[in-house]
Symmetry: C2
Subunit: 600 residues, 2 copies
C-alpha cells in the first residue's frame, strides 16, 4: 500500500500540550493550546491525536504507539492468546485480497477466564482506572483559575448556567465523577483492550457532547488510503469517535489500518461483514458466522459494535405502511432474516452470548435503531418506539453483565417531535447515553443534509443526547469525500458546542466569549485562530481584504473603513461610563468623528 497523504501540520497558532497530574506521569492528556495576540493561551479539547504533534514520529504502516498498553496489562486480568486464524472470506467480495499486513498485526488480548475487563465492571467495583483519570483531565479542558472563579460569581454564573434539561454537570469533572457516571450506566468509555492506541474519551449526558464521523468504503468506490486519510482528517476537525462502515473489498484489512492508526474509538456494524461472508444472502446469516465476526473484530480492537438486536420479528409488519420503510442497512438485513425464517432475530435470542464476548474485550454496545424513520412522515411511529423499548430491555441485560451500552436514535424527525425522542429514550433506556444520526428536520434539501440535520442535532444535544453522528452534504447522494467529511464535522461541532452552551456546560461558553471579545477588539488573527475552522475564516476574510494591514485594521469589508459600529460602540462605552452630562460637552468639543483613519 502506498502511504496516504495525511494532513499533519498544527492548526494556526496552535500547539499540542499535554496535561498530567503529579502522581500519574504516564497519563498525558493532549490539549490544543491556541496562542492569542495579547499573550494569553487558551487550551481546547483536542481529538486529533499525535498527528498534529510535530514531534510525533508517524508511520502509518506501523501504527500509533500503544499508550494504554501498560495500563491494560497492569490490571493483570487479561491474557495474550493466538488470534482466530484468518479466513479468505474476511476481506469480503470476490476481488483481489491484499492479505494481512504483517506490521499491523498484534497478538490479541482477552479477559482471563471468568474475568470482566469492561470499564463499567471496574467502575462498579469502585476502581478508578487510568482511563477515567485521563478523561477527567480531558473534560475539564481549560485549566484557567480565572475562568473558574468567574463562573462561580453573580450574574455571569446565572447566564452560563444554561438550561440543563435534567443533566447534572459539575463545574469540575473529577475522576470519581467519571467512575460514578460509568458505574451507573449514564456514560460509556469505548476502549477495547485491543485498541491500546486510543486516547480515552467518554460519552454521556453529563459531559461534553461528542461527535462521531462515519467513514468506510463501499462496493462502488474508495480505497484504504482514502479511508485512513479520512480518519486522520475527521479527527483533525473534531471527530470524537469514527465509525468504519466499509462494505466493499478489503474490509478486514481496511479496518486493520484504521484501528492501528486511530487515536479515537472506532465503531463498526459487524452484520455488514457477516453478510459479506455469506455472499450477501441475508437469510443465510446465522449466529455462528455473526459470532465469528464479533470475535474477529474484537481481536482487531473495535471499540463499539452497532448491533440491531431490537429489530424483532413482531415489529417488522409495523413498517409496512411507512413512506420509506426500513432505511437502516442493519435493520433491513435483520428484518429480512426474521421474515425469511419466520423466527425471532438471532441477535435478540443470543444477546447474552454477545454480552460474554463484549466483556472479554471491553467492547461497548451501540444498540442500533434498525427501525429508525427515514423520512419525516415516519418519525416517532409505532415501529420506532417498539424497538426503542426493546433496546431498553436489552440495556438492562447488558448492564447485568457490566457491559457498557449506548442507544442509537434517529434519523428524520421534524423539530416539534424531537424532544419526545429524548424523553422516551431516557425513560425506556434508563439514562444510557443516546447517540443520534442528526435528526434531519426536513427531507427537501439533499446536498445540504449537514444543515437540515445540524438543526436537529443541536436541539437533541441540548435535550440530552450524548453523541451526535454527523451527516455530510453527500448524504443520500454519494459517498463523502474529504471535503464532505470536513463540512459534516464542522456542522456537527457547531451543533455539539451550541448544545453544550445551552446546557450550561461550564467549559463551553468561554470560547464564544473569547472570540467575541477578540472580534470587538479588532484582533482579527485571534478571531480566526479561536474559530472552529481558522483556514476558512482567514480565506473568507482575505477574499475581500487580502492585505496584511487589514488584519490589524479597525474595520472590515462589510462596512468599510469609514463606518464601524464596533468603533462607535467603544466611544459610546467610554462616554457612558464617565457620566453622560459631563462627557457630552467634552465629546462635542473634541469634534469627534465617526470616520476612523483609513489603513492602506
Amino acid at each position: 500500500m502506498s502511504r496516504p497523504l495525511i494532513t499533519r501540520q498544527p492548526l494556526p497558532a496552535s500547539s499540542k500540550v499535554y496535561h498530567s497530574v503529579a502522581d500519574h506521569p504516564d497519563i498525558r492528556v493532549p490539549l490544543r493550546s491556541i496562542a492569542l495576540s495579547n499573550g494569553e493561551h487558551v487550551t481546547v479539547y483536542d481529538s486529533s491525536g499525535p498527528y498534529t504533534d510535530p514531534t510525533a514520529d508517524i508511520d502509518l504502516s506501523a501504527g500509533l504507539p500503544p499508550l494504554r498498553a501498560n495500563w491494560i496489562a497492569g490490571r493483570g486480568d487479561t491474557e495474550l492468546y493466538p488470534a482466530r486464524p484468518p479466513r479468505a472470506a474476511d476481506d469480503g467480495g470476490s476481488g483481489a485480497v491484499p492479505g494481512r499486513v504483517e506490521s499491523l498485526q498484534r497478538q490479541p488480548r482477552r479477559a482471563v477466564a471468568g474475568a470482566n475487563v469492561s470499564q463499567m465492571h471496574y467502575a462498579r467495583r469502585g476502581i478508578v482506572t487510568p482511563e477515567m483519570e485521563f478523561i477527567a483531565l480531558r473534560e475539564n479542558q481549560r485549566c484557567s483559575a480565572a475562568w473558574q472563579a468567574e463562573i462561580e460569581t453573580g450574574e455571569r454564573r446565572r447566564r452560563l448556567q444554561g438550561d440543563a434539561r435534567g443533566a447534572r454537570i459539575p463545574a469540575i469533572i473529577t475522576p470519581e465523577f467519571v467512575r460514578r457516571e460509568v458505574a451507573e450506566g449514564r456514560a460509556i468509555i469505548p476502549a477495547n483492550i485491543n485498541h491500546p492506541e486510543l486516547e480515552p474519551m467518554i460519552i454521556g449526558r453529563n459531559f461534553l457532547v461528542k461527535v462521531n464521523a462515519n467513514i468506510g468504503n463501499s462496493a462502488v468506490t474508495s480505497s484504504i488510503d482514502e479511508e485512513v486519510d479520512k480518519l486522520v482528517w475527521a479527527t483533525r476537525w473534531g471527530a470524537d469517535t469514527v465509525m468504519d462502515l466499509s462494505t466493499g473489498r478489503n474490509i478486514h484489512t481496511t479496518r486493520d489500518y484504521i484501528l492501528r492508526n486511530a487515536p479515537v474509538p472506532i465503531g463498526t456494524v459487524p452484520i455488514y461483514q457477516a453478510l459479506e461472508k455469506v455472499g450477501g444472502i441475508a437469510e443465510d446469516l446465522n449466529w455462528e458466522v455473526f459470532r465469528d465476526t464479533l470475535v474477529e473484530q474484537a481481536e482487531q480492537g473495535v471499540d463499539y459494535f452497532t448491533i440491531h438486536a431490537g429489530v424483532r420479528l413482531a415489529f417488522v409488519p409495523m413498517t409496512a405502511d411507512r413512506v420509506t420503510g426500513i432505511v437502516s442497512r442493519g435493520g433491513s438485513i435483520m428484518a429480512k432474516w426474521c421474515i425469511a425464517h419466520h423466527q425471532e432475530s438471532f441477535l435478540y435470542t443470543h444477546f447474552e452470548e454477545i454480552c460474554e464476548i463484549m466483556k472479554a474485550y471491553d467492547v461497548s454496545f451501540s444498540l442500533g435503531d434498525g427501525l429508525r424513520p427515514g423520512s419525516l412522515a415516519d418519525a416517532n411511529d409505532e415501529a420506532q418506539f417498539a424497538e426503542l423499548k426493546t433496546l431498553g430491555e436489552l440495556t438492562t441485560i447488558a448492564w447485568q453483565h457490566d457491559v457498557q451500552t449506548m442507544i442509537e436514535g434517529p434519523g428524520h424527525v421534524p423539530m416539534h417531535m424531537i424532544e419526545e425522542n429524548m424523553t422516551q429514550q431516557l425513560e425506556h433506556c434508563h439514562e444510557a447515553p443516546f447517540y443520534t444520526l442528526g435528526p434531519l428536520t426536513t427531507d427537501i434539501a439533499p446536498g445540504y443534509d449537514h444543515i437540515t440535520s445540524g438543526i436537529g442535532a443541536a436541539m437533541i444535544g441540548w435535550f440530552g443526547c450524548a453523541m451526535l453522528c454527523y451527516v455530510t452534504p453527500k448524504e443520500h447522494l454519494g459517498l463523502p469525500d474529504r471535503d464532505d467529511v470536513k463540512a459534516g464535522m464542522i456542522a456537527y461541532r457547531i451543533a455539539a458546542h451550541a448544545a453544550d452552551v445551552a446546557k450550561g456546560h461550564p467549559g463551553a461558553r468561554y470560547r464564544d466569549d473569547l472570540l467575541s471579545q477578540a472580534r470587538f477588539d479588532f484582533r482579527w488573527q485571534d478571531q480566526f485562530n479561536l474559530s472552529l475552522d481558522p483556514d476558512t475564516a482567514i480565506r473568507y476574510h482575505d477574499a475581500t481584504l487580502p492585505k496584511d494591514s487589514a488584519k490589524v485594521a479597525h474595520f472590515c469589508s462589510m462596512c468599510g473603513p469609514k463606518f464601524c459600529s464596533m468603533q462607535i460602540t467603544r466611544e459610546v462605552r467610554d462616554y457612558a461610563r464617565e457620566g453622560m452630562a459631563r462627557k457630552s460637552a467634552e465629546f462635542r468639543a473634541l469634534g469627534s468623528e465617526i470616520y476612523v483613519r483609513e489603513v492602506d
Copy 2:
C-alpha cells in the same frame, strides 16, 4: 452601466405557471411547477419573479413591468406629483457619481391630502385589495384536492398538525383571512405604491415563514451590476424580500436599479444614507436630513424602512458592560447622536411625523433592534429588552396611523434563551410580526454562520417568528458574493421550511413526503428536482456515479449495487402485507436475493 450577467433559466424540470381566479383575470399568481417522472406536477411557492419565465422580456435598464399599477391607480386615492429634486449628496461618498438613469425614473405617486394608502388602512375598513387576493392564492401554493383531502383525515392529519405554538394557520388561506390578519396587525404586506413591480407577499405568523436576503455595496467593494445580479440570484433561491444595505458610492442609483428590477419587496435602513449626506458625522444628523431621506426613498419605492427609534437616550448606558457593545450600525449611530446631544433620539421624538410619511406611500415599519446582542454573552439583557418594550409602544402608535409594522430581533442568542425572545416579543409588541437575524447559537464558527444561525432561525421560526433574515458564510468576515448569497439562502429556506413543518403549516410537509417517496422509489431525477437546490444535488450524485444509467438504478454510491436497504424494505413490505406465515415459505422457495442486478 453594462448589463449584469443574471441567471434566468428555469430550475430543472420546472416551469412558471400563473394561477388566477375567475373574477380577477389581472391577478396572476406565479408558481413553479415541477414535472415529476411519474407524470405528476407539483407546484411550489416561487419568489423568483419574471426572470425564470422564458417568455418574459427582461431589460434591466428599463425595469420590470408594473403589474400593480392599475390596482394602485384604480383605488383613486393617490396622485402623481413632481419628485423631490435630485441632490448631489444623494449618491453619497466623494467619488464619481453616475447620475440618475433616465430610463429608470418614474414620476412618484403619493396619497392625496388626507388619504392613507396602507394595506392596513384598507384592511381595517373591510376592503380586500387585489394584493390580498394575490397573497391568498400564493400562500395556498399547491391546489391539489387530493392533498387537501388527505390532510383532513385521520392519523396523517394528526402528524401534519405539528405544534403551532400559538399560531392559528387555516387549512385554506382566504382573501378575507389575509385581510383580517393585516387589519389586526399580525401580518404586513410590504408594498410601496411606488414599487408597482412587486409580486405581493405577506409576513405574519399565520402564513409561511419568509426569508430576507441582505445585499448592498460597501465603501470597500461591490458594484451596481453585482448588486442587481445578487438581487435576481437571491430571489431565484427563495428570497421573499431583499434589503439593500448599501453604504458606499452610488447609493441612490444602486437603489434605482434594485427597485425597478425587484419582484420582491425591498427594505432599506435610511439612516445609512442620511449619514452619508452629513459626511459621516453622526452628531450632525438631524430630523430634516432624515426626513428628506425618507421621502427620497419612499418616492423610489422602498417597501419597508428599518428605523431604530427604540434606541433611547436612557438605554445607551445599559450597553456599557457588554462584551460587544452595540453591534447594529443604525443603533450605534443613534446611540452616538443621543449622547453627543444629550437628547432623546429624533427618531423617537418625530415618530408620528414618520408615520405620516409611511402612510402616504404605504411604506412598512421594520422597527430596528439597535441594541440587539452581538455575542452570546450579551443575549437577552436589560438593554435588549428595554428597547423591545419601546418598540411595542411605537407599534401601538404606528397602528393608530394604520401603518404596517414589524419588529426586528436578534442576533446572537444561545438556544436555551431563544424562546424568551419570542414570548417577550409577542407580549410587548402585540403580535406584530417578528423578523430576526438568525439568531446565531454560538460565536465560535466564523465562516459557517449560516449554520450557527440557521439552527436558531429554524427554532425561532417554529416559535412564531414571521421572517428570518439570512446570514451568509461571510458574516463577520467579508461582503457576501454570489456563492455566499446562495449558501445563505439555502440554509434559510431549510430553516423556514423546517419551521413551517414543525408549526404544522398545511402547505409545508407535502414536499418532504413527495421527495421521500421519490427517494424510496429510486426516482433519482424527482429527488433532485424536488429539492431546494437541484443543481447541487445532481452534482453531488454525479461525483461518484456520473452515468445516466445510475439515475434510474435501484442503488446509490453509499451502498453500491449489491446492497440496498431500500430495496430490501420493499421486499419486506410486500411480505408483511400478505401475511407473514404464508409468504415466508413462498419467499424462501423463490430463493430471493438481496443482490439486485448491477447496472452498467
